[in-house]
Structures are given as C-alpha cells and as structure tokens.
C-alpha cells in the first residue's frame, strides 16, 4: 500500500467522520423545543431560554440535579410561559445522553398516584397541573403554578407544541 493511497483513505475517513459529527452535532445544537409566543394558541413565551450544562445543573435544581447527572443528562433548558394572563407555567427540557436516560428519569416522574397516560412523544403522563413526556433522548416537564379550570387542556396544547419541535 502506498503512502498516497493511505493518505487518501485517511482523508476519506475524516470527511465521513466530520460529516457524521456535524449531522449529529447540528441536530442537537439546533433543536429549539420552545414554541415562540403565539405559536400555540393563547401561550406567550415570557422569558429567555436558559440552558445549563450537566456540571452547572445544580444552579437550577440543586438537590434534584444528582439523579439527572447519574442518568446521563447532557444539558437542561428552561423557559417560562403564560397562558391568556391566567396561567403561568415553566417548560423544562432535559437532553439526556441517550433514550435509556430519558426512560429512566421519565419512570421516576410517571409513577405518582393520579398519573394519566397521554399521547405525547414516546410516552407521556399528565396530572392536573403538569405534563411530562419523553421522546428519544429528550425528557420534558411542563408544570403550571396555578390549578385553574382549563389548565390541563392548555398544558396539553403547549406540550404538543414542544413535542412537534423535538
């Protein structure tokens, strides 16, 4: 085998590798799961998205962070929303290292009494004031601060909006 053919093969391999990395890398970095204001009827995005790397997750959820880190969380993004000036909610999107990590953490949030199975992502549950679902490596929690009439329906609409963007 000549030096030039080796170089050629190496170059080809590098091109393929870079292409693969750019595809997977771009897919993750370009995902913006947060619907813009007005994209979901009645919902306004009321804060900028904040994103925390795994090592900084304690700044957001402190004591809760450890179990996500153990499950392989890569980043966590969060944003606040408001529905028709009568309901406020926070959307948290955890990007786990793989689907298994999302499954693991989803199982924690879906075991509580009163959980109702819903059609979202790969699996979802809803409570009166919250919705959680997983989709691939993503785990989404949407929590409302108020328990108002119509909250479950409004939260589901927002959840579908996030689901569609993942």
């Amino acid at each position: 085998m000549t030096l030039s053919s080796n170089t050629g093969k190496l170059a080809s391999a590098l091109v393929v590798l870079v292409a693969m990395l750019s595809v997977t890398g771009c897919k993750k970095s370009k995902v913006d799961p947060f619907p813009a204001s007005g994209a979901i009827a009645g919902w306004q995005k009321t804060s900028q998205t904040r994103t925390f790397a795994a090592k900084d997750l304690w700044k957001y959820i402190d004591g809760e962070a450890e179990q996500y880190i153990k499950a392989g969380v890569v980043t966590t993004s969060t944003s606040d929303y408001k529905y028709q000036d009568k309901l406020e909610a926070v959307v948290d999107v955890y990007t786990m290292g793989n689907t298994a990590g999302a499954e693991k953490m989803f199982s924690v949030s879906s075991q509580s009494k009163g959980a109702k199975s819903v059609q979202l992502g790969d699996a979802g549950v809803a409570y009166a004031q919250s919705v959680s679902f997983r989709k691939g490596p993503y785990l989404v929690h949407i929590v409302a601060y108020e328990d108002t009439p119509g909250a479950p329906e409004a939260l589901m609409a927002l959840a579908h909006g996030v689901d569609a963007k993942l």
Partner: protein, 331 residues
Amino acid sequence: MKNRREFLKTAATGAVLLGSQSKLGLAAAVEKHVSGARSRVVVARDAALQAHGAQLDQQRVLALLDKAMAAYTGHKNPPEAWQSVIPRGKVIGIKINGLGGRGISSHAVLVHAICERLQQAGVPAGNIIVWDRNARDLRACGMTINTDRSRVRCYGSDTAGYEDQETACGSAHLRLSKILTRECGMVISVPILKDHNMSGVTFSMKNMYGVIDRPFLLHGNNCNPGVADLNALPVIREKVNFTIGDALTSVYQGGPVFQPQHLWHPGTLVVGQDRVAVDYTAWQILDRKRAEAGMSTLKADGREPRYIATAADAAHRLGTNNPQHIHLVEV
C-alpha cells in the same frame, strides 16, 4: 488541610467563643441541653389560611406569626416577643429559600410579616436584609430586589459576593456568602418545608446550603454529614440561631422541586432556636402527611434524614433530636 476531627474541634471551639458573646449562642444552648432543659419548638397552625384559593391571607399570616411567637416566648405583645429573641443594634438577616421556584418557595407574605414585626421591635428597616443565593431565587419567593438602606434590603449572594478564602467543611472546601460573614449580626432561617430526594427533608439546617457557593459539594451520602458539618461552622452556628419555618405550603414527595401533584397546604409555622429539634419536628410532620397519603415513611423509602441525628451527636452538638428533650408546643 484539616482532617474531619480537627475541623469539628475547631468548629466547636470557635462556636463556644462566639457564643459567649450572645445569650443565644452555643454556650447557652449546650448549657441548656446538659442541664436537662428541653428545647422548645412551637408548631402553630391555621387550617383556614388558604381558604380563599392559592393566595395567602396577609392578616391571617401575621396573626399566625404572632400566635407562634407568643407561644414561643411567652410574650403576647408582638414587639416584646421579638425583642426577647433578637440582639440590639445588629443587622438581622432573613435567609429564605427560593430554589424551588415560584411554586414552592418561602412565602413573601410571611417574610413581610416578619419584617414588619422586627421594625416594631425596634430594628431599623435598613438593618434588615432578606437574602438567598441570587436575585432569581428571591424573585421566585415574590420578593423585590432592593439595596437602598432606607428600606428593608433584599438581595442575593450574587450581588454581595462570596468570601475569597475557602472554608473547610468536612472534606469539602467552600466559600461563604459575605451577607452571612460580613453583613448580618444574626440570621433568622425561614426555610420552606419540602421532601428532598436525597436528604429526605429540607428545612432549617438544609436551608444553609444556600449560603455557600457550591452546595453540591455537600450532597454526598444523602447530605450526611454535609448538613451537620455546615451548620457546625462557627459563623453559622452562632449567627443563624432562630428559625421561623414556613410550612404554609409544602411538597411531601418528589422534592425539592415543585411537584403540584404532591403539593399540600399545612398552614403551619415551626418556630424554635434549636435547629435540630425544629428539623426533627418538621420531619415528623412530613412523615405524618406521607402516611395520610398512603405513602411509606422516609425511612422506609430509604431517605431517612440521618443528618438530623448527626447534627445532634457529640461531635456536632447543634441541638437535640430526642423527642424526650423537645418541648413541643402546638397552638
């Protein structure tokens, strides 16, 4: 680097020296403990506090605070009650907890009630600092940031900063908030009662994780002995010597984050100077609620808050977790 034994010895010695300057110090606490006197803990309730939805009634909260302070101090007149537990001429810090976000944080209505009574007890408004880790956490509690000394001040350690020099705490090295070390002469802990997935319960002593720069360093082994070691630091042991525990609302499972499906409204304040006895009492309240909800106790769930016993042990001597030594007053 100090080992654990040296750390505890230094912490205890420092606390005794500091405590000798205050009637609320460790020396008095130890004397009380050794003499067999019981630690007084008041649990004050108002079941109708949240009768009108999610909004807490300001006047009812103030009345509940007054009831708790009267039961704790024996003074029915609120200013007199407060004067009996606060030092004169010192800046009083109120360390709240907004980590859980808007849904489950120390309530602003309670903080305002405390500030009102402190001022009536003679503390100038500018000598009161409401604080937590950062502005975001304070706002989550419903507070407004203010650094103007003509009014009650409210800002986070993100504004005041942390000490440059690290403090040894067990095997960890961390930096303390300057609000604690430099600005306050006394700190009232106003935690929110929550279930905690690691430590079991978060209340008065765990609230101190918000006075250091990297709390995750103390999360090992379910926060044990991290919570006890932190509270044994002389500056915390001495200055943070009164708790007005906020159990107006609480989460009994899935904490420390907001879990609306496990939200509960005990309408309760837990008040005392013995932080260990206060936390022990809060643990019992949480476990009773879990039993009512058909859930296992924290111990059965593998989350017994063992740091409470550690805080009471001979190495830490922060208070008592022995119910025989706790004078529980329920009003």
